[in-house]
């Protein structure tokens, strides 16, 4: 069924980049293409950049597709679909020299480049013709708001370019436009073929990559990091969310506003982030698992109450979807710049846990971990994600729910309740049984003031030290009980030439780079931190001990992880950091590895 020409090359891995005006439907086109590719049994991995403008502005929607796990959005793109010249100017540089350019020839004509294969597609003209053709068959009410099927023409062209079958797309168009009447469906299907035909006519003996459908046995989800974070939270038992909109975290509140009521949970849009966290602390104190999510500016406003949670020992999870730049910065770009704020953002000192999610799938599991740690150690847990991970759409297997383990806080026993109940009992682990309102004999005042074991205020030097030790002891307990599980180690066992230590959303791209290097004979290791604070020093030192050289790559300006490692370990490493608002590509890391190995 698959159309095929003599010159098409069978490829296993294609990077397609769509660029255009955001209003023009570039994202819609991308989303549909993703669906089609997934239906073919392929995996996908999407990286998008968003314009600062509300509507309009240039977007870039990059799809990498292959059959099998995809670890990053890839290096340069193989196919660039440029819907306007602005997009081409801004994002055309990310194309490989022998790549394929498909451009909207109604809008611009690029200067030809040796090595590049070009397809001119008068998308606007073709789409308009398709609309004209059905003009009299569509109900006037619908016709008035009917756009010319530009996206569908583009989709047909793109699918043809990678030699993908058109049938699933036809079915998709029927499903999508069915309620607008037969004529609209017809217009779209015709537009699909028009785009495909126009490309086919130009193929001649031009090089085209070919993707092959495969049978997929298992189900997959097409999801992004924010969505998996939400699902993890629900799976962990989170039933109260309060938040305030902010890019790129708003989607979390939007998702939960829709889904949480069905689970018996509530979502409140607070008046600001201070109130959002305040509500979560109230809910956490009252016994509910509570979540708030924000990004840098909002997390900054939460600093005071994160400290209260640490001091009053209230379980709560705070997701920080990091974005680019300081202050308002670059809200639609990515960064790993909030590590310092997460681990150090407190006046004086109270304990907290900082975790970082590393992939779309991991967003699910690490969010569950966040709630479990908040409950187990009665403290705030900051969960780091970032714009790139949050909006990274990937195909992943549905998480195995039988593997979900849910931890709940330690409650006092009947005997512990009563006159001698002490909310802040100084125990061996530091963890004290926590009563909940409604429990008879469990009365106490939860407070951020320094207090004795009962919770009554107290300021003596001895008490101050005792209670501080008690609270921080929980972090030692955590490290003892689960520290080793808080890192993931990849790559070669035994001694390695280059080891990489990193955290957060860079895990996939580093894995891809290390695999490339290993394939070329380098001995490479990679330790990825799931927990940043308290820092699991033992497994880090064990890993470092088998590395000749260590690279610490991260997406910020001053090297925050590097600094944090220096505080807590004696290992020597080469920092590698930049903060341009975009993720690493595999090649950048690969270059660093080979460079370091060659030293």
């Amino acid at each position: 069924m698959t159309p095929q020409t003599a010159t098409s090359t069978r490829v296993t891995d294609v990077v397609i980049r769509l660029v255009g005006e955001s209003g023009e439907g570039t994202v819609t086109l991308g989303d549909i293409a993703v669906q089609m590719l997934t239906m073919m049994g392929l995996d996908i991995y999407v990286f998008q950049t968003f314009p600062a403008e509300i509507k309009g502005g240039t977007v870039m929607y990059q799809i990498r597709t292959r059959s099998g796990t995809i670890l990053s959005h890839g290096d340069a793109c193989d196919i660039l679909v440029a819907l306007n010249d602005e997009g081409f100017d801004l994002f055309g540089g990310g194309m490989r020299e022998d790549g394929i350019l498909l451009y909207n020839s109604d809008v611009f004509t690029p200067t030809p480049q040796p090595g590049r294969t070009e397809y001119a597609l008068p998308i606007t003209t073709l789409a308009r013709a398709e609309k004209d053709a059905v003009r009299h068959d569509v109900e006037p009410e619908i016709l008035k708001r009917l756009p010319a099927p530009v996206n569908t023409v583009g989709l047909g062209a793109l699918l043809r370019l990678v030699n993908a079958p058109l049938e699933p797309a036809e079915q998709y168009l029927r499903d999508t436009f069915g309620r607008k009447g037969e004529a609209v469906v017809r217009m779209n299907i015709s537009a699909l073929h028009s785009g495909a035909k126009h490309v086919a006519e130009q193929i001649g003996n031009k090089r085209t990559p070919q993707v092959f459908p495969r049978e997929r046995e298992e189900k997959v989800l097409i999801v992004n990091g924010n969505q998996m974070l939400c699902m993890g939270a629900i799976a962990a038992g989170m039933r109260f969310y309060a938040g305030y909109p902010i890019t790129p975290a708003s989607e979390i509140m939007e998702f939960l506003a829709k889904e949480l009521p069905a689970f018996g949970g509530d979502v409140v849009q607070a008046e600001d982030e201070i109130s959002a966290l305040g509500m979560c602390l109230g809910a956490g104190f009252a016994g509910k698992k509570a979540l708030t999510a924000s990004s840098g500016p909002g997390i900054s406003l939460m600093v005071e109450q994160i400290n209260l949670a640490g001091q009053a020992e209230i379980p709560v999870v705070i997701a920080d979807i990091q974005r680019g730049g300081a202050s308002t910065g670059m809200p639609t770009k990515t960064s790993q710049g909030d590590l310092n704020l997460a681990v150090y953002g407190v006046h004086n000192e109270s304990p907290r846990v900082v975790l970082a999610a590393s992939s779309v799938e991991d967003c699910f599991w690490t969010t569950i971990e966040a709630f479990n740690l908040a409950e187990a150690y009665q403290c705030p847990v900051i969960l780091l994600s970032d714009q790139a991970l949050a909006t990274r759409k990937s195909t992943i297997p549905p998480p195995d729910l039988s593997k979900v383990e849910v931890v709940n806080r330690l409650l006092p026993t009947e005997e512990e309740l009563g006159d001698s109940y002490m909310r802040y009992r100084d125990t061996e682990t530091g963890v004290s049984p926590m009563s909940l309102p409604g429990m008879r004999g469990g009365r106490y005042v939860s407070t951020g003031i320094e207090h004795d074991e009962t919770g009554d205020p107290g300021y003596t030097p001895e008490l101050a030290m005792q209670m501080k030790r008690k609270r921080f002891r929980k972090m030692e307990t955590l490290l003892r009980e689960r520290g080793d599980a808080m890192v993931r180690v990849w790559g070669d066992p035994g001694e390695v030439e280059v080891g990489i230590i990193a955290f957060g959303s860079t895990e996939g791209v580093i894995r891809e780079a290390t695999e490339r290097a290993r394939a070329e004979g380098y001995k490479v290791g990679h330790l990825h931190l799931r927990m940043l604070s308290p820092l699991p020093v033992d497994p880090i030192n064990a890993f470092a001990a088998r590395c000749k050289r260590i690279l610490v790559p991260e997406l910020n300006f001053t090297g925050q992880l590097a600094g944090w490692l220096r505080v807590h370990t004696d290992i020597r490493f080469t920092p590698f950091h930049k903060d341009e608002g975009i993720p690493f590509i595999p090649n950048e890391i690969y270059q660093q590895i080979t460079h370091l190995a060659g030293k």
């Binding site: 009521p261 008046e271 966290l277 305040g278 509910k288 106490y444 939860s446």
Partner: protein
């Protein structure tokens, strides 16, 4: 509000912790009125949470034999809202000072009014910052600099030459926000205050009670005598459901009316809307599998 048939006496709400307040502090009267009101409403101590921020007045939860939440300065209402939203069956009473509620916490009040959770908010209004030792608060009535430049520099620490701004009217703003129960009390009339608080606790929705609670240590001007002279009971014929009339009453300059000034009993509540929403899904509860299905590729 969970009232029960078991009767509790005011004494039953008293904790072992001795108040740290100065002798003569108005907050003692407020505390006693609160004990009495809780008893009148028969609140089960273990089902009750008293929530506060930071300030002399915000130390109150420690002195009540219920659960308590003593958070940070100004964030009393967010915490109270979270507790009530998480556990609607609990009785939630928020307390604090005029600084906590009207200054640093000012931004939360209108939004709490919009949400209208079933919470009673008791402000101990001493027209000053007690805990930080006597600066002006949004309700301070220190004369303006240009009017009375001879204000005692020792008494008014941040305004030694007089204030540069006017006081807010907490009752008028509450009516503008449509807070569904707005009342004023006075700590030197503890029985009346207990009645008002009992009515506030019984009210379904967000109830604000601003109680004058003089600070003899740092505010010698708005003291008990001043308020004894400048307060009067809300007129018998006042209709608290008339918002414009209530506003007019709040603006009166011949003294401060004590009693219930405004109420709106039918105001929707966030808690009920949320309950409504959750009920919509009772027969079709969420499962992880259903969620996954929505994102299936």
């Amino acid at each position: 509000m969970t009232a029960t048939s078991t009767q509790y006496s005011p004494r039953d709400y008293k904790s072992d912790l001795k108040p740290i307040w100065c002798a003569g502090c108005g907050d003692f009267g407020v505390l006693n009125a609160l004990y009495k009101a809780m008893s009148m409403c028969g609140l089960k101590p273990e089902d009750t949470v008293v929530v506060s921020g930071i300030g002399c007045s915000s130390r109150l939860p420690g002195f009540v034999e219920t659960y308590g939440y003593h958070g940070v300065h100004g964030r009393t209402l967010p915490a109270a809202t979270g507790i009530k939203a998480a556990r609607p069956e609990l009785n939630v009473i928020a307390v604090g000072g005029d600084g906590d509620g009207y200054s640093i916490g000012a931004g939360h009040l209108p939004h709490c009014a919009r949400r209208n959770p079933d919470i009673t908010y008791l402000i101990m209004n001493n027209n000053t910052y007690g805990l930080t030792k006597g600066q002006i608060s949004p309700t301070s009535m220190v004369p303006l600099a240009s009017i009375s430049p001879k204000v005692d520099p020792k008494r008014w620490k941040t305004t030694p030459y007089g204030m540069t701004e006017e006081a807010i009217n907490p009752i008028a703003q509450a009516i503008a926000w449509d807070v569904s129960f707005v009342a004023r009390g006075f700590s030197y009339k503890p029985n009346q205050l207990a009645d008002i608080l009992a009515a506030a606790i019984s009210h379904r929705g967000f109830a604000l009670v601003d109680a004058f609670s003089p600070c003899p240590t740092f505010n010698q001007d708005q003291n008990d005598d001043y308020y004894k002279d400048h307060t009067y009971d809300v007129p018998e014929d006042h209709d608290p459901t008339d918002r414009v009339k209530a506003f007019e009453l709040a603006l009166r300059t011949d003294g401060y009316p004590i009693g219930i000034i405004y109420r709106r009993d039918n105001k929707p509540s966030m808690l009920e809307e949320q309950a409504f929403l959750r009920r919509r899904f009772e027969n079709n509860p969420g499962t992880m599998e259903k969620l996954f299905a929505k994102y299936q590729g």
